[in-house]
């Protein structure tokens, strides 16, 4: 009968380029709950996995950044819809990963779903909020518009394995960037499961790539990677060690760097501002002469 049925474990895999590969290194590591009970073996990504993820993210950038803001908004909303249907699974994973009660984990998952909805609504508004016409002192049309920076490496928060994760991914892709996400090292299961949700949310393959493994091992080659445009150090810790090393490596091609906030200042449940979007936006300003319609004849 059903109470004696042996359950089917899930093989947790990476999410790269819209596919679910194991680590090319063949390595895994054990993930446990807060009490040390075994939960799963997950891929221990190598630097080669990291490079593959950058290639996938770069390949996806043209299409995703070129999609209409409305389209991106619908895709982000679709992520919320898909999550809503798999809520139970995420509540369980968050509860186990973060040692939360079912009720608290459910609140976290609800907040994460709502966050996708929040950012879904931002995709076609941010340009009007941060861009606009500039009243230059001359006969020129002059317009500033935000554009996505490119490929963004996101080191997901180590503690908040799902709400924190969603809070750093959604703003990056809402504006048209593509992302290589390094999941929480200790609690990667919600991130790897999120990959499965993204794969069924009309999000083009490669827009979000999820790696699990040792943050320092994967982040180091990513911070030095010449085809990465920016890095969010949220999960790099605020001590003088890793975050600083990564920022130094990032200077080699002048990546945009979002430094980690002191842990006690981070309240992932609070409504975010626009900072995590604007950190990965460029401003492009386009000029064109306007000509004039004067009594002496037109010059346009």
């Amino acid at each position: 009968m059903s109470d004696t049925r042996l359950s089917v474990f899930k093989t947790y895999k990476l999410y790269v380029g819209g596919k679910f590969p194991r680590s090319e290194s063949g390595r895994v590591y054990e993930v446990t709950d807060k009490k040390g009970n075994w939960l799963a073996n997950v891929p221990l990504s190598s630097r080669k996995d990291a490079r593959d993820a950058v290639v996938a993210a770069r390949k996806a950038f043209g299409g995703w950044s070129g999609a209409t803001a409305y389209n991106r908004g619908q895709v982000l909303y679709r992520v919320a819809e898909m999550l809503e249907g798999r809520k139970e699974q995420f509540v369980r994973e968050v509860a186990e990963s973060e040692g939360l009660s079912k009720a608290k984990a459910a609140a976290v998952v609800d907040a994460a779903i709502d966050r996708w909805v929040w950012y879904a609504g931002w995709t076609d508004k941010i340009a009007q909020v941060v861009g606009g016409g500039n009243p230059v002192a001359g006969p020129f049309f002059n317009l500033s518009s935000p554009e996505p920076t490119g490929v963004v490496v996101v080191l997901a928060p180590q503690e908040s394995s799902f709400l924190g994760l969603v809070s750093v991914i959604a703003p990056v892709i809402a504006t048209g960037n593509t992302a290589v996400v390094v999941a929480s090292e200790r609690a990667p299961l919600p991130a790897l499961s999120l990959g499965e949700v993204l794969a069924t949310s009309d999000l083009p393959g490669g827009v979000v790539n999820v790696l699990s493994g040792r943050t320092a091992e994967i982040a180091t080659p990513l911070a030095a990677h010449q085809d990465v445009n920016a890095i969010d150090l949220a999960g790099a810790g605020t001590d003088d060690g890793l975050a600083k090393e990564l920022e130094i490596a990032a200077a080699d091609n002048l990546k945009r760097v979002l430094r980690p906030q002191p842990v006690d200042e981070v309240d992932w449940a609070a409504t975010p501002g626009t900072d995590r979007m604007t950190a990965f936006l460029e401003t492009k300003t386009v000029w064109h002469p306007t000509g004039a319609l004067g009594a002496s004849g037109s010059s346009y």
Binding site: V129, V130, N134, P135, V136, A137, G138, F140, N142, S144, T149, N229, D240, A243, K244, E247, I248, A250, A251, D252, N253, L254, R256, V257, R259, G273, D275, E282, T283, K284, T285, V286, W287, H288, P289
Partner: protein, 478 residues
């Protein structure tokens, strides 16, 4: 080719700029000697004449200046925005009053034509202060939330190509937002910043709010590394920018960088040739090409290459190179011997790699640092002159057949500061502008600047924006 029009010399009088034989550092409202007594000479690049002897800041002076700025910060940042605004409006007005003097001074110290300092640099400097003055009491409405706070002490390092304008781009937004500043001008062009110090005194600006430290790269490095600096702003080379990014790594210092470029100026076959030629000339020969956003790569559609180049060469033959103080001069002196030798080396490299070099008949003055307007054809993307920033009056001409090819070539650089598009077809302008990875796109125009218009780069041309509402962000804790 013989000049069509002969001009009589029309020199601006230099007596309006009264340059003292020596200048000190400007710290805490006073001119003072360097702690170690070091001085350096600043020369006029068009004549090699020594203009003045200037105190050279070292690490101890940087520390003294940062302390003065820190001390001034509490009071300055606590002033009502409307009061800070009035100081900045005063500064803007005094600059307008003294603009002829400052234009002459800048031309003497920098070597650029008086026509440019008078008609471009100085009007923009005054406008920049006037613009940011108006922001000082309106920061709540700038889109960064209520009551955005200043960062503290800003350490600013600026280049020699637009000495006073770069100072304005740095100091005006910093002060408007309530920060205090320590600014290091470039070692070859310290004078206008020191005259600006005097303007601060005339405006009654509180002591320590603005500190000016003439000096070399070591002083800049000390300033950037100083633990009590909260904000670093740098305009200069990409190599130094990367070094600065490494220095501030792991700190809480906010950083903005405005670095090099290799701007593509794209001319399509339907472009108005005469206008495009003016734009190309302006794009690469304005300020002797010593402009980070210069249009140093001309991408011309293959079918009109001959016609365009013929027209361009004819136009270059009419440029007048010589005494920068002459109001008819188009091309002035290269800023320094060092820069001249860099340009020369890269141009020789261009020839050695097989590109074809051309310059109009052009007599160079005997003293001073000069380089004739130069054009390279048969340039490929692999050539050094198509990849490296030359920062001189040297244009590399490449060709393309399709808009896609033009965009691919334009973007094929680690830089991303500026680009130009010349075509009569509106949809093509918008499509190409959309695809170019550069911070400023000039369509059917080039090298236009305005205090309301954000300026800054993509990729290795740096990050952050100067100018406009966007420029405030660099100096606010947001």
């Amino acid at each position: 080719m013989a000049s069509v029009f002969e001009y009589a010399p029309a020199p601006e009088s230099r007596s309006i700029a009264d340059i003292a034989p020596s200048y000190g550092l400007f710290i805490d409202g006073e001119f003072t000697e360097a702690a170690d007594g070091k001085v350096f000479k600043t020369v006029s690049p068009s004549t090699e004449e020594v203009l003045s002897e200037v105190a050279q800041a070292g690490e101890a002076d940087v520390d003294r200046a940062v302390k003065a700025a820190r001390k001034a910060f509490d009071t300055w940042s606590a002033l009502p925005g409307s009061e800070r605004a009035k100081y900045l409006f005063r500064i803007a007005r005094i600059i307008q009053e003294r603009s002829r003097e400052l234009a002459v001074l800048e031309t003497l110290d920098n070597g650029k034509p008086i026509r440019e300092t008078r008609d471009a640099d100085l009007p923009l400097v005054a406008a920049h202060f006037f613009y940011y003055a108006g922001w000082a009491d309106k920061l709540d409405h700038a889109g960064f939330g209520a009551d955005p706070r200043p960062l503290g002490v800003a350490g600013q390092v600026i280049p020699w190509n637009f000495p006073l304008l770069m100072l304005a781009w740095k100091i005006a937004p910093a002060l408007a937002t309530g920060n205090t500043v320590v600014l290091k001008p470039a070692e070859t062009t310290p004078l206008s910043a020191l005259f600006f110090a005097d303007i601060c005194r005339q405006a009654g600006l509180p002591k320590g709010v603005v500190n000016i430290l003439p000096g070399y790269g070591d002083a800049g490095a000390s300033l950037v590394a100083h633990p009590d600096v909260n904000k670093v702003a740098f305009t200069g080379s990409t190599a130094v920018g990367k070094q600065i990014a490494r220095t501030v790594a792991g700190t809480r210092k906010k950083l903005t960088l405005e670095l090099g470029g290799k701007g593509a100026n794209i001319v399509f076959d339907d472009a108005p040739i005469d206008q495009a030629v003016e734009g190309i000339v302006n794009g690469i020969f304005f300020n002797q090409g010593q402009v980070c956003c210069a249009g140093s790569r001309l991408l011309v559609q293959e079918s009109i290459q001959e016609e365009l180049l013929e027209s361009l060469k004819r136009r270059l033959s009419t440029l007048r190179l010589g005494d920068p103080m002459d109001k008819n001069t188009d091309i002035g002196a290269i800023n320094s011997e060092e820069q001249l030798s860099r340009i020369t080396t890269l141009v020789e490299r261009g020839e050695a790699e097989g590109a074809e070099r051309w310059s109009p008949a052009c007599e160079l003055p005997e003293s001073g640092y000069w380089f004739a307007p130069t054009l390279f054809t048969n340039v490929t993307q692999a050539h050094t002159i198509a990849r490296d920033e030359i920062f001189g009056p040297v244009l590399s001409v490449l060709t393309f057949r399709t808009p896609d090819e033009a965009v691919a070539k334009a973007n094929n650089t680690p830089y991303g500061l500026s680009a130009g598009i010349w075509t009569e077809k509106g949809s093509r302008i918008l499509a190409v502008a959309n695809k170019l990875r550069a911070g400023v796109i000039w369509s059917n125009t080039f090298n236009k600047f305005d205090p309301t218009s954000p300026f800054g780069g993509y990729k290795e041309s740096g990050f952050g924006r100067e100018g406009g509402r966007h420029g405030l962000e660099a100096y606010l804790d947001v």
